[in-house]
Symmetry: C2
Subunit: 243 residues, 2 copies
DNA sequence: GATTGTTTTTGACATAGATCAAGGACCCGC
DNA sequence: GCGGGTCCTTGATCTATGTCAAAAACAATC
């Protein structure tokens, strides 16, 4: 079992996600203010980060790793409603509990801010509020594409859409045969797509047998036929992006 | 056929949605600036307001009526991804085309702003950016509940969730037997819920036969048994709200 | 109030995906 | 390298929902 290391620390100006996170537009003096407010916290893969209903005492930015947001019905059915990558933000001003479960999908490091201090910062520095608006609107666009997928796509299209998203995100766009990391288990993919894990497995083998993809191992896919994958998504060819 | 009346006009300070729209937090001088920028435009029920891909030359707030946002796949499958009520906003800063179809579901009146002028206003007046952030985050919450519904609920639960949402929105909460307007056709409801219109119809008759609801006519439902409706949603009892 | 078109309901049937169950593959600690 | 756990695949079957088709209810126009 890997020990969680909480000793990670970088200067804001050298932060790897400096230009994409909520602080993207901050001037140096604003960064200095953030510098004094922040602390880092890490979680192992699989660990819960927050539970639905928890007091939202701090806001966070994902610095490294992947976290998922999910909601469950009483009987255990669960739907993933967000996938947080480095630079994504957790928390919302003006609400004091969180309304979904946040889980570390891989090892995750967060950059944390006390809520009240950060809320003050938001009202002081328009740069942060503007960037947060932009990020919220991007998430909303992603959520809407996701809704189309959940409501109207077949299992095969869902799988293809998911794989295509991974390719797009890893920026290998054109590189046929390149291997892409699959950061989620079959069950997590199922919760992402609104399917059962068995259906996920079957559709993946089906795409494999057709020669569209190949699985190096459980956690890595190679895309052998990008046009075929695109076709299978059900989107028009310069299709919509979820992330 | 009703003529579209474009002559609707109110002063901002007397506007019915003054305290809920993007301008909610504006001071009098900011309102005065909006006053000079705005124009009204109306659409009949069923008319398209914008098509996906259109140039986003203006932003708008819904003043009255209901509009829907939807996305379609190539073969015509369509999913509704938003339902705009009075005070809701159309358009997003920093993007110049719109990525879904906007349709007037009932007769609709919009309050319009030229995009460039409004974007300038956003960077000038933090009150507007802050309010827009709040509204975007609310929409995101709604979208996430909607995703759970699309991905994990049964047809019956979807219908119950939809009807419950209507009750909640019309603020009749406790009033058993009260009649609620059903602003969408069966097909639109189907596109909202990720179902076919036949399934919508069947589940509605099923709820009717069980005595949970009654249909006064096509466009009005009475909720006879609120606890039963709540049960049928699949949420826990003080359940989640979509709007 | 008959006519025509639209929307909704109902029925019969087909099927994608869920469910239940078993067997394999991989991982990790010893 | 062995044993126990977890994750993944595959198979057999069931069922909720989609599809296709027709009839019924309603709305609009003359």
């Amino acid at each position: 079992m890997n020990a969680v290391k909480d000793d990670f620390r970088v200067q804001c100006v050298e932060c790897p996600i400096r230009h994409r996170a909520v602080c993207a537009r901050c001037e140096v003096d604003e960064l200095n203010r953030l510098e004094t407010m922040k602390s880092y916290k890490s979680f192992e893969a699989g660990q819960p980060i927050m539970w639905r209903g928890d007091d939202l005492t701090a806001f966070s930015t994902v610095v490294s790793g992947i976290a998922s947001l999910s909601k469950s019905l009483d009987d255990g059915r669960t739907q993933m409603v967000g996938l947080l990558l480095p630079s994504d933000f957790i928390g919302r001003p003006g609400r004091n509990t969180i309304d979904f479960d946040v889980t570390a999908t891989t090892d995750v490091t967060l950059c944390r801010f006390e809520r009240t201090a950060f809320e003050a910062l938001i009202s002081d520095t328009p740069h942060i509020a503007q960037r947060m608006l932009e990020m919220a609107l991007d998430e909303l666009d992603a959520a809407r594409d996701w809704m189309v997928m959940l409501g109207r796509k077949t299992a095969r299209e869902k799988i293809a859409t998911f794989l295509e998203m991974l390719v797009r995100r890893s920026d290998l766009h054109a590189a046929t045969g390149a291997s892409v990391a699959l950061p989620l288990t079959r069950e997590e993919i199922a919760n992402f797509l609104g399917l059962t894990l068995e259906t996920v497995s079957r559709q993946m083998t089906s795409l494999r047998k057709e020669g569209v993809v190949a699985f190096d191992d459980r956690k890595n896919v190679s895309i052998l036929d990008i046009p075929a994958l695109n076709d299978a998504t059900g989107d028009d060819n310069d299709g919509d992006v979820i992330f």
